[in-house]
């Protein structure tokens, strides 16, 4: 079986900047695939390469086995949900959704019936006559989705589609998007900078850094087994202990990561692996509190502890000297 999308050593160079730098990846048919990374990491450029808005400077892109070089966007079996939704402001919602059929010469009555069907699917059945400007952000997002899906693409590209929505709506849409993808069986390629979004919806996640893929794995593995310091920090907000400190702690010059919730305050001499420092800041997050600890050499550690309704739990105060410890199994060894 062909892969839905395949990148072989793909680069995209703007002037002298390598926006995408020798990327290899494959997206399986029907997969929910996320590209995660900070802004400027190359994830959106990768999406635009698949859509056909950009052409690769080097390497080969295949979409369902077909070489995509020189194929314009309008000849690709791929549709996009844009970050700003890109709804045509001069058309009604119905005409927006029907646009893909209109440009293919589908008769007015037929395409409008289809568009109404799509609108019903995204729960906007009665909104066809409105202008996009008369819709809320969440509704526009659904229209954009319906418009992209009407052509029945085999791959749907989503460029930070939830970025402009508020938190509650974003969480609801995550569930709906995932359900939709499962139901339609379409391949989703999803670009986001929000690790929570990527972890909760995806089958696999590619973490981008400076135009390269840092790690490509399942969400669970990404979180539990980060391979590099960047992934450990960006995905899990984990503490990274560098090679020199590791040498003195565990007798091995290899960096490792420990997640904040695996660390705790201990008494000196409790055993296990320990570091001492000064508590500099406490952030209260409700369920947990986050403690920022400065080590003697200036390095900082984050410790996360649940806030229990337990009088025996004594929280240290900022300025206090503390000892931080963690079990050996909490350490994830990182690549150099």
């Amino acid at each position: 079986m062909n892969h839905a999308v395949e990148f072989q050593q793909v680069s995209r160079v703007f002037d002298t900047v390598h926006a995408v730098d020798r990327v290899d990846l494959t997206v399986a048919e029907g997969e929910f695939f996320s590209m995660l990374g900070p802004s400027g990491s190359g994830k959106t450029t990768c999406l635009r390469l698949i859509a056909g808005f950009e052409q690769a400077s080097a390497g080969c892109i295949r979409i369902h086995g077909r070489d995509a070089a020189g194929v314009p966007p309008y000849e690709r079996d791929v549709n996009t949900v844009f970050q700003d939704y890109a709804l045509f402001p001069h058309m009604s919602v119905l005409d927006n959704v029907a646009y893909g059929l209109m440009v293919r010469g589908v008769a007015r009555a037929v395409r409008h019936r289809q568009a109404e069907h799509m609108l019903a699917m995204v729960k906007l059945a009665d909104f066809g006559g409105r202008r996009p400007a008369a819709l809320s952000g969440g509704q526009r997002q659904r229209v954009a989705l319906a418009r992209a899906l009407i052509n029945q693409p085999r791959v749907l590209l989503l460029d930070e589609p939830l970025g402009a929505l508020d938190l509650k709506l974003r969480e609801a849409m995550q569930t709906e998007l995932k359900a939709l993808q499962r139901q339609l069986g379409i391949t989703f390629v999803y670009v986001t900078h929000d690790q929570g979004e990527a972890l909760s919806m995806s089958d696999r996640v590619a973490v981008f850094k400076q135009g390269r893929i840092e790690q490509l794995s399942s969400p669970r593995e990404l979180y539990n087994r980060p391979r590099t310091a960047f992934v450990a920090d960006f995905v899990g907000g984990a503490n990274v202990i560098d090679a020199s400190l590791a040498q003195s702690l565990i007798g091995r010059a290899q960096a490792f990561s420990v997640r904040p919730e695996q660390m705790d305050f201990v008494s000196e001499g409790d055993g296990g692996i320990q570091l001492t420092g000064t508590l500099v800041d406490v952030q209260y997050h409700g369920a947990v509190s986050r403690y920022q600890v400065a080590l003697a050499d200036g390095r900082q550690l984050a410790v996360s502890r649940p806030n229990l309704l337990d009088a025996t739990q004594v929280a240290p105060e900022p300025g206090q000297a503390v000892t931080v410890g963690w079990p050996a199994h909490a350490m994830v060894m990182l690549e150099a």
Partner: protein, 325 residues
Amino acid sequence: MAIEAPDPLHQHGLPTAGIRRRLASLLYRRQTLLLLLLLTPPLLWFGVVYLGSLLALLMQSFYTFDDFTMAVTPELTLANFRAIADPANPLFGANIDIVLRTLGMAAAVTVACALIAFPIAYYMARYARGWQKGFFYIAVMAPMWASYIVKAYSWTVILAKGGIVYWLGQALGLNALLEAVLSLPMVGGSSLSTSNLGRFMVFTYIWLPFMILPIQAALERVPLSLLQASSDLGARPAQTFRTVMLPLAFPGVVAGSIFTFSLTLGDFIVPQLVGPPGLFIGNYVYTMQGAVGNIPMAAAFTVVPVVLISLYLALARRLGAFDAL
């Protein structure tokens, strides 16, 4: 979300592979080709028609004009430029008079426009709101775009003997004052419509909107918080105006002055209709090429406003006017 898979749509078939589609794809792949196709017509027009004409003009300024046969021959000479730039040349005195007369008027008109425009622009930017905003904008735009020749004509009507101004003077008993002003040297003349004062009024009127809009645009960009900060720090309103508002509005004034200065410098219709005899640069060029047929001299003389405006633009750039355009 209640989801139903939509009906299969793929029977609608593949995109048409006609010539049009192939051309579209070619242009999409070769964006530079598309750019070239878009740019070629305007480039040809401006490169050939316009720049070509300017070059033709510049070239002819070095041609020779024979005073006796009144014929132009393509023998290159610097004589035309000497008549403007060389004090030893017999024509220099008359020519420099023309330049100074025009320059003086352009400067006076620019100052007057700035003084009249500022309060209007200030009111527009700071106090006009809602419908007033649109009203003021269109009330400045409409006279600006209204026919230039008709506006000039209207002033000949207004300033005519027995016309509105004289009638008003009589009604208010101010005609003696008007006569006194008109008897002044430089400013005056035998009547308003043949005086420098009249010409100055017409110029100021016609170019005034070109000064209002850039000042208004500059003032519009001054955030209110800046003025509040100034008064919060203890400045009295007059101090705020002088130390915050005026410096920030100044680039707008300079931008507007580019228009008023350059437009006055090149005009030859208003000097023809209103004011005393004595040529402006524009009239001289017009007469030289038309009645006299000395295109080389006319061409050489057009270099004068270009040089003056370039100098002015260089000065304006240093004063930061281009940020306000």
